[in-house]
Amino acid sequence: MNSDLNLQSIERKAQNTTFIDGLWDMYVGGVFLSMGLYSLLDNDVWAGVLMMLPLVFPFFGKKIFTSKRLGYANFGEKRIVQKRKAMLILSVSFILGIIASIFFFYTGTSNNPVVEFVQQHFYIVPAIVWGGVLALTGVVFKYNRFIIFGVFIAVAIILFQHYGYPLSASTRAAGGAIMTMGLIRFIGFLNKYPPLPVEEGV
């Protein structure tokens, strides 16, 4: 039996069981990896399939691997509120991304040094928006790895662009790295939690 009876840590641990298997890490990594690979594909259909592919990890992986090992828990109202906040962050950042693109791309030359700087280094916008979305999602779900991934993505985009590599190369590299970290976590999870018996007690 676990000796840790810190109630706050138990609550946090229970909430974090959603992410314990690394499948959401693999999903996030997969999304960025497919964004990077998208530009390499000529066929739009296959590119579309590629973008949808990461969804396989959380949706099928949870059913096939996780539920047999961790069981089922419904987190109720708290989780619903967290999901709504995450959706709000995604929507707002999507809108802000579009507004920023329109503003900085189509305003033409400007005397404002900030606008001029962003126009010259436009990669800052996806770095802030994508990294920010991930980090804020991590804050909402109290899952620190997403915050680290957010910073990682932002730094990767800025560094790659600074050294003259395209945006797709940075998302490929960062996505691949995050996916590998998720995979290592997933393998660790499979080792730590063997499948539980189907027949139940009580």
Partner: protein, 109 residues
Amino acid sequence: MGNKKQETDNTKPIDSFNRTIHEPARLLILAYLHAVESADFLFLMSQTGLTKGNLSSHLTRLETIGYVEISKEFVKKIPRTLLRLTETGRIEFRAYRDRIQQVLNTPQD
């Protein structure tokens, strides 16, 4: 005689603890059920590290006194035992948590 009275006075705050909840395994079970809306037997087993028999007996005890509600359902022909804290269980758990915090926060001489 004086010592006995002093001992009684010292243990009085602890005596008021809910003994059913105070048992470590049951406290752990209730803490997990408090953190979720509902969970199945396997979830509690994987999280608490209790054996099937041990978990079953504690849950039966908690159900008997009305702290936990146990229901059975089938998900794709697989049986699932769903557990949730009753309103009484939730109130008693919070009261226990507040009481223990109160006792531990009492300033020492």
